[in-house]
Symmetry: C2
Subunit: 417 residues, 2 copies
């Protein structure tokens, strides 16, 4: 089954907006066993839309179109599709009802122009858009499926998830594909591949596919399986996850859409414990990541971002003598920082980070990318040295991720390397 994606909008061609819709659609389609043949971005121009549709239907069975659907002048896509398929207008009652409801929710009158949103080409199926007024449209012509959706990402995603994907599965009798993603931290792609080589080789027996998805500090392992018996497949995949666990137990921190800050937050909530951080080179990023999770005030008390020597000594009780002897980026200092912030902010746990993010500040002994991270709890403190690269932004991000991972390991009693 082949699909193509056509995204419409001058803003894409002049680079004012990055086309994130296509990547999301590509993920969804490939995860459902539909191969994307081509992605095409074109301007808001009827002629160009028609030629793109002509080209796409030669190559693919499914053509997904986003953009160019809006209340007035933006309706170029809808008008072009009506002409392309030689249809008439009709008013869709369900869409009209949705338009009324949305305007009512914002306490506004529905104008005549707004009501035009419910006007669609007569032989299309209108797809309800619960996040906006412009409906999606499904055309089934000569055995090819054309779907048009608004360009606003969350509107498009809603229509896709609730209508288009289920309808495509039904129409083409697509096999069920299930996915399970294992999230790992603290191990590079090649080392990971080496550790799980035998397990990976055996995945073929159950026709399970594996994809490595790396990002700074984190590698995701996505298992995919195709078939008809969802429950049975889920059992097989879960067994495979169990099998790989002992090989990389220390590196796995979650599954699917988990994030490290969410996983750590859930652990803290469950244990009813509190956390504080003392951040030097990460400059507050760990606190920002933790507080990006709604409800984090339940367990996160705060942070002391100590960018200067003075703040380290005044706020974190790091002794001047020690700073002079060992330097700010040292095991001694980072341990003192973790103990200091835990005591000051009266929390159960604490994290401390001190390092050289770059581009300046490196020495022979401690080159750019040298980072010390410590975690502490009642009567216990542990620190470890990391050596990252020479990119400031990545060093700050990788330090923050490593710090959250270290806290998690301490909390689950896995801290030993």
């Amino acid at each position: 089954m082949l699909a193509e994606i056509i995204t419409i909008g001058d803003e894409l061609l002049i680079g004012q907006v990055i086309d994130t819709n296509s990547a999301w659609l590509g993920q969804q389609l490939s995860q459902n066993g539909i191969q994307v043949k081509q992605i095409t971005s074109i301007s808001d121009d009827a002629k160009h839309i028609v030629s793109a549709l002509d080209e796409a239907k030669k190559r693919a069975d499914i053509i997904l179109i986003t953009g160019g659907l809006g209340p007035t002048k933006d309706d170029i896509t809808k008008n072009t599709l009506k002409g392309y398929f030689k249809m008439e207008w009709r008013t869709d009652e369900e869409v009209l009802q949705n338009v009324f409801e949305i305007f009512k929710r914002f306490g506004k009158e529905t104008t005549e122009i707004n009501k035009l949103q419910a006007q669609v080409p007569d032989k299309c199926i209108a797809l309800n858009n619960k996040n906006g007024t412009a409906p999606g449209m499904w055309f089934d012509v000569d055995g090819k499926i054309f779907v048009s959706m608004p360009g606003v990402p969350y509107e498009m995603k809603g229509i896709m998830t609730e209508s288009v994907l289920p309808m495509l599965r039904k129409k083409f009798g697509l096999p069920t594909i299930i996915h399970k993603t294992i999230l790992t931290q603290g191990i590079g792609e090649s080392m990971l591949a080496e550790k799980i080589e035998k397990w990976e080789d055996a995945l073929g027996v159950d026709k399970i596919k594996l994809a490595y998805l790396p990002s700074p500090g984190i590698v995701r392992l996505r298992l995919s399986m195709e078939g008809n018996e969802k429950d049975e497949m889920m059992k097989v995949i879960n067994r495979k996850v169990e099998e790989v666990m002992p090989l990389i137990k220390k590196n796995i921190f979650g599954y699917d859409n988990d994030t490290l800050e969410k996983v750590v937050g859930d652990l803290l909530k469950k244990e009813n414990r509190t956390l504080s951080t003392a951040e030097s080179c990460t400059g507050g990023l760990v606190a920002h990541m933790l507080t990006s999770v709604p409800g984090s005030s339940e367990y996160f008390s705060g942070s002391i971002v100590s960018y200067s020597y003075d703040v380290k000594t005044i706020e974190l009780n790091v002794s001047k003598k020690m700073l002079e002897q060992f330097g700010a980026v040292s095991e001694e200092t980072v341990k003192q920082m973790a103990l200091g912030v835990r005591e000051r902010l009266k929390t159960d746990y604490s994290i401390a980070i001190s390092g050289i993010a770059g581009p300046d500040g490196g020495t022979l002994d401690k080159p750019v990318g040298t980072v010390w991270i410590a975690v502490a709890k009642e009567g216990f403190v542990f620190a470890k040295r990391f050596q990252f690269g020479d990119n400031r932004e990545r060093n700050i991000l990788r330090s923050s991720i490593s710090a959250l991972a270290m806290l998690r390991k301490m909390m689950i009693g896995e801290l030993d390397d």
Copy 2:
């Protein structure tokens, strides 16, 4: 002059990687007076590359290709182009020299496979890639220009800026286009448009085009002008910038590639002053933004992220009584926070933020999105209430930007609203 962009790579079609190259290329081309007609993403497949090239050259004069250039199996694009243009191989000495140098820099031997990077189709111009080993390639065939570049963004950008854009300007005798971007904060797009309406209307006289580029908290105004006399045009544009200044003086914080954190940092460096922050709802984001600027340790001392009541009282000297009487999100508390952190961290200036980022915690009086921001200096403290929306992530970002903007206004003596 019409151009098309073809990006090659399976990872784009399955949505593993978002195609940011196309947006950047679209910006560069349109800023140089070249209109982008279509962007096409295709798989690493010779047949598909050939048909995409055939289609593109029907519509455009310039075809830019990225991706599918690499040391071994990835060389599908190079091989396909050689066949497409019926050329032979030649070894480019300059590229070979570059390959040797890059491997030498990393202390590695150049293998035979690496040397293959210098092999290019004989009638193309090889474009040096100072950030990597795969060269760009320029083909001038039947009056159409085809350029192939690696898919790694910073390699592509280097080749584009140093070779492709100057060569395109020369080849097609493109007029010079100059741009100047005015960065504004604290004013929405429509209000901004109203304030500068007359000025905007008069831009046409000098054939200057204006684009509004909004992002959370910031609106950029980009002026563009086409012509031949660069110095003369620069004078005209600068005069227009001078003219608009009095209308929106309070909102302008910089030009072109400035960021608020960089502008504030430069001011602090110039004045030889220090800064600290006390952050509640922003959870460390202001500190993170400030410390993302290299060298920020010169002026940024640190931050106290006070997510709990306790931290506010212990670390920031906010009185419990006041917290109980006025609440954490109040003028009184945020002023105390600003004064408290300035005193504790012994800095010249301070910023404090306290608000309700959401989704929970809102009340009738103080709905989600209510944020108090304060700035302080010797003998002075000022606070203002902001009302943002209901999206947690955007509220945190807009609060942080507004806080940096408020500090800047205090520093330049423009604080009066």
